[in-house]
Symmetry: C2
Subunit: 204 residues, 2 copies
DNA sequence: GGCTGTATGTTGACGAGGTCAACATGCCCC
DNA sequence: GGGGCATGTTGACCTCGTCAACATACAGCC
């Protein structure tokens, strides 16, 4: 952790704010993040954050962007076993996606649904989410070329796949799914169903 | 509209509060709903709502529940053409689901992601969302018996289908999907992919 | 090394909003 | 027609986001 002073008074307060806000979100949900509390936890005053972010929303956007980058990195790291047979890589991506959401529910929630209107015009956030989509499209394209899935518009297929995992993650996070259901099985079945649905049916 | 006095001073303030809150959510998002504003719009004081709801969250829960009921009714209304061939009914349900979300984005957002922690222990909300699930399970069961989709656990399949449409609805609402994409096509492709994935593969 | 300007951080104040307690009032039932 | 509870009102308090005025530290220049 980069904790020693790097630049001015505090030493990279901006980064600390994002980090601390993320931590607070994990601990007590987005609602527990107040400019006063975060400042206090970092030993600065309530006004300090305003030297780095125009308002609270901007700070949260930064946190959300950081979340997308983390998620992206995690999904990409599966590339190590990219050579594995068939569409295994796609399935693993879906699995990792949902797992990320389950491990960081509040953070994940922030990345999507939070105060969307105000946030959606944030170019950084769009870019971060867009990167996720592009990666997914690339992987889908590869599998299309291998003939493992249907050869339609990869972007549309990416949206379908993204919808499925995001929906599952969302429902799980919001506790809309019976706790007795085996989550692993459900994740598997979801990714499997999508992949089956996308499998090349031109052979039928 | 039941607008004349029915019971006490105001005449069914409780119902009016829910109705008005829903209207405000549609107009200006959930953030625009304040106890003061809603009271003002109904010609009562800021304290009046507290005679009907312990706090603001409870009011919002009531609004969310009303949303689930509306959505449920809409999905069920497709029963008219239930005799239509094949899995057409399931596809139509998915379509109606997403359409509802697009027509009432803020309301839909409230039904799910909002202040989940505080809300998830609300039995009414659970019940309303649960009813949605049960209906879906019933329909799936019917199609299983007709041999149109795979014969696994209908509950798990319902979750998969729900995830897909909820995810798509959510991404659309949060503007995570390229506006140039044809929404109708995307909805169709999503439901189709899920149905294909659920189609009985025992014949393979 | 000392000076000056800007990047940072602090504090006081304001307004919005949720909520509670004390108080007021209407309505039903006996 | 009066009592009592259901409703509604008001004043007050606290939290929170935010801004403006003020304070200070660090950097670079001489």
């Amino acid at each position: 952790m980069a904790e020693r002073a790097r630049t001015y008074h505090h030493g990279d307060l901006r980064a600390s704010l994002v980090e601390e806000a993320a931590a607070m979100i994990s601990e007590g949900g987005a609602a527990s993040v107040t400019m006063r509390a975060i400042g206090s936890r970092l030993g600065v005053s309530r006004g300090a954050p305003y030297r780095h972010f125009p308002d609270k929303t901007a700070l949260l956007v930064a946190v959300a962007v950081a979340g997308f980058k983390r998620l992206n990195r995690r999904l990409g790291s599966g590339d190590a076993g990219a050579s594995s047979s068939s569409v295994e890589r796609l399935r693993r991506m879906g699995e990792q996606y949902v797992r990320f959401a389950l491990e960081h529910p509040a953070h994940y929630r922030l990345m999507y649904g939070k105060e969307a209107l105000a946030r959606q015009d944030q170019p950084e956030l769009r870019k971060a989410a867009g990167a996720l989509l592009e990666n997914l499209i690339d992987v889908i394209r590869v599998h299309q070329q291998r003939g493992e899935i249907e050869g339609g518009d990869p972007r549309a297929q990416a949206y379908v796949a993204w919808s499925a995992v995001h929906g599952l993650a969302s429902l799980l996070i919001e506790r809309q799914i019976d706790p007795n259901v085996d989550v692993d099985d459900l994740i598997r079945q979801t990714t499997q169903t999508i992949l089956d649905g996308m499998r090349d049916r031109s052979q039928d």
